[in-house]
């Protein structure tokens, strides 16, 4: 009898004790992507918690598409599950405009806001105020295997044209020996194949919308760009290209199966690391290829940390976000994980650091590409939207996904390029009408 009575009392006491302990400590929930740099951030949890004993981190690490769904539904319905969200240059201005994000004004002196790359800073600002702090930034560039290029006696210029790239791909393509001319994204999705396809269309002189928001997907520029893409990747790409996204291509390239690969600059650190890549010592790079115009030929993206306006733990969340995007954090990763693992593309000081430049020979290229991409002026003819590889309007997720699917069907030969673009144009018109842009 005594025992049964004292047992609940003991649990109660324990519960009270743990509750009071939790009160002293603020637990913040951080939602992030399972990309390499974020995994490193998660592994440094202890370092942060030691420096800030009153804050505890709770991680939710998800795959990009799933994360985007969870975050969007959470913030739009004011679910309040997360205190720190990992979002990109696409979401930040749109969400900030809706008042969903806390502004980062009055950053502490030591944070050195001016040190952040200007293109990234602009991409993450709304009304000239940062609404998220950049964790890493990327543009796109061309990777190639120097051994294969030497073997065929090809000299890589600093910025090749797409036509040259196609000729080289045709020359090197050797599917019997599992060497494919070029690897490009084919997996449908606005953040997968359309990111790449948009830059290709840009450099062929096309654009998503004219000044009055009329979609231009059936324009000659799109026809030319998509035909080129289907021809290039279909003939000289790996089998199953229509299901290869960034990660699949990175695996193919680092196992030596692609002669060329045009994709994110953020992959450079990994494919240059001999532990993870068999082509680390024969890796060459150049600026992303151009066709008609250099404008918008390479993209600009940044993964950034933001705090939802609905979070009740903004103070603690801010402390964490400022820590994870600070110079000290970059220093910390450089010291513990090696300098090639440093989150790239956010701060000028990273590119002035001798240790980084020495470890990462691609640093200049990345910096140049990042500075060269201008989201406010990415198309040959003027366009009403902001963004290089995306259109900065809420409807774009739907449009990009849909068009991505039709482009993939053109790639697999299910539909001709003309049919695919026609149905993409119709679908986009419908969506824009429904959203009230067109009559």
């Amino acid at each position: 009898m005594k025992l049964t009575r004292s047992l609940p009392m003991a649990t109660l006491a324990a519960a009270i004790a743990s509750a009071s302990q939790a009160q002293a400590q603020t637990e913040i929930t951080v939602a992030t992507v399972n990309n390499n740099d974020m995994v490193i951030m998660q592994s440094l949890t202890d370092q942060f918690e030691q420096a800030n004993p009153d804050i505890k981190l709770d991680w939710v690490v998800l795959e990009e598409n799933v994360l985007r769904q969870r975050l969007t539904t959470d913030i739009a319905t004011e679910g309040g599950q997360f205190d720190v969200m990992t979002i990109g240059t696409y979401e930040v201005p749109i969400w900030a405009e809706r008042g969903w994000l806390a502004a980062f004004d009055n950053l502490p002196e030591g944070y050195d806001e001016e040190d952040l790359l200007k293109s990234v800073r602009n991409g993450l600002s709304h009304d000239c105020t940062l609404h998220a702090l950049p964790f890493y930034g990327e543009s796109s560039m061309l990777y190639y295997r120097t051994d294969l290029f030497d073997e065929h006696g090809i000299d890589m210029p600093e910025q090749p044209s797409w036509e040259e790239v196609r000729d080289w791909a045709a020359e090197i393509h050797d599917p019997d020996n599992e060497t494919f001319g070029i690897c490009l994204r084919g997996k449908p999705g606005w953040g997968e194949n359309m990111a790449f396809v948009s830059t290709l269309v840009n450099t062929f002189g096309g654009r998503w919308f004219d000044e009055d928001w009329n979609p231009e997907l059936d324009s000659p520029e799109w026809q030319e760009a998509i035909s080129f893409y289907v021809d290039l990747l279909g003939n000289y790409g790996p089998p199953g290209a229509s299901s290869n996204g960034f990660n699949e291509n990175q695996a193919l390239f680092s196992s030596g199966k692609c002669a060329m690969w045009v994709d994110a600059t953020s992959a450079a650190g990994r494919i240059f690391n001999p532990d993870e890549s068999s082509v680390a010592d024969q890796l060459g790079f150049s600026q992303a290829p151009v066709a008609e115009t250099p404008k918008g030929s390479h993209w600009l993206w940044s993964w950034a940390l933001a705090i939802p306006a609905s979070s009740e733990k903004q103070e603690a969340a801010r402390t964490f976000v400022e820590w994870a995007t600070s110079k000290e954090y970059i220093e910390l990763v450089g010291e513990t994980e090696g300098w090639t693992s440093v989150p790239p593309g956010t701060r000028t000081s990273t590119y002035e650091d001798e240790r980084y430049i020495e470890a990462a020979p691609f640093a200049d290229f990345v910096l140049e590409a990042m500075q060269g991409a201008d989201p406010t002026d990415s198309t040959l003819k003027p366009s009403p939207y902001i963004g290089v590889q995306f259109v900065g309007i809420p409807e774009f997720q739907a449009i990009g996904t849909q068009v991505g699917q039709t482009i993939a069907s053109a790639l697999t030969g299910d539909a001709s390029v003309e049919q695919a673009l026609q149905s993409a144009q119709q679908a986009t018109e419908r969506t824009m009408k429904r959203a009230g842009y067109l009559d």
Partner: protein, 296 residues
């Protein structure tokens, strides 16, 4: 129905109704609230990304849904998928049931092995098929094709719907087998023996004794499978994401696209309502068919 309890009071008529009322009410609430909300949302302008654009939309969502070529293609895909999987599982299941009914060494193990695919989670089996079976360079199927000197098939881009049908049929064939095998076991051996004595061959026995005997079990298989196959999602999500183009987008996947990729709750609800109506039409026919079979 009226029984006399030990207490002497009758249970039946009004009294049963009052006893059933809580359970029935709960069930109705359970069913009607979500259904009502879906209907309500389908009449609203409700997109998560556009908080400003709200309000009553009337039938606008339905109008856009029915003029969307994706809807008709998704309906066609759904019917093709359900139809082919049913044909494969019922025909294959019947043949396998006859086979596994025979006496042979290791029958028990063989039966367990044949039934096991049904216990693999849909996402897992989709991944296994995607990466280990149908992958154009690492897959077993491409290896088989190459040993015979044939070109490797890039399954998910050249034969997307066929690939999905194969995966789903692989999963549901054991279910049909399980039900039909159980039915086979209740087949009267004497009857078969008698038929054989009268000079009937194995084919005749199959068509005139086994198949009529299995009729009820087959209609049950069809009904249950139909209910689950209309909502196939995981296999498509994992392997083709509904593509390329709209080649493998079924109704369930179309609703998913609207709700979670486009964040258009109104449109997704309208799609949901259409799916409910479609499922009910199918169900009415099915229930009638099964009921007629069971009455025989």
């Amino acid at each position: 129905m009226n029984k006399t309890r030990a207490s002497g009071r009758t249970v039946g008529g009004l009294r049963t109704l009052s006893l059933q009322a809580p359970a029935v009410t709960l069930l109705l609430v359970w069913m009607l609230v979500p259904l009502g909300m879906t209907l309500w949302f389908s009449l609203q302008r409700y997109n998560l990304l556009m908080p400003g654009m709200t309000g009553f939309a009337g039938l606008e969502n339905y109008e856009y849904l029915f003029t969307d070529p994706a809807l008709w293609s998704a309906m066609g895909t759904t019917l093709l998928l359900v139809g082919w999987v049913l044909v494969i599982t019922v025909v294959g299941g019947t043949l396998l049931a006859v086979l596994f009914q025979q006496d042979f060494a290791g029958r028990g193990i063989a039966r367990v092995l044949a039934i096991s695919p049904f216990f693999v989670m849909p996402t897992v089996s989709a991944l296994v098929w995607k990466n280990m079976m149908m992958h154009p360079s690492n897959g077993v199927l491409s290896w088989v094709a190459e040993t015979f000197g044939l070109p490797a098939v890039d399954w998910f881009s050249s034969l997307p719907l066929t690939s999905i049908i194969i995966i789903v049929a692989w999963q549901w064939l054991p279910f049909a087998l399980l039900i039909l095998l159980t039915a086979m076991q209740s087949l009267d051996d004497d009857q078969v023996e008698a038929a054989r004595m009268d000079g009937a061959g194995p084919v005749a026995i199959f068509f005139f004794i086994t198949l009529p005997h299995l009729k009820r079990a087959i209609s049950v298989v069809i009904m249950i499978e139909m209910i689950f196959l209309l909502t196939i999602f995981a296999e498509i999500f994992v392997t083709t994401s509904g593509g390329p183009g709209l080649a493998t987008t079924n109704l369930a996947y179309l609703i998913y696209i609207q709700a979670l990729l486009n964040f258009d709750v109104g449109m997704a609800s309208a799609g949901g309502v259409v799916a409910i109506i479609l499922a009910n039409i199918v169900a009415i026919f099915l229930v009638r068919m099964v009921a007629r079979n069971l009455e025989d």
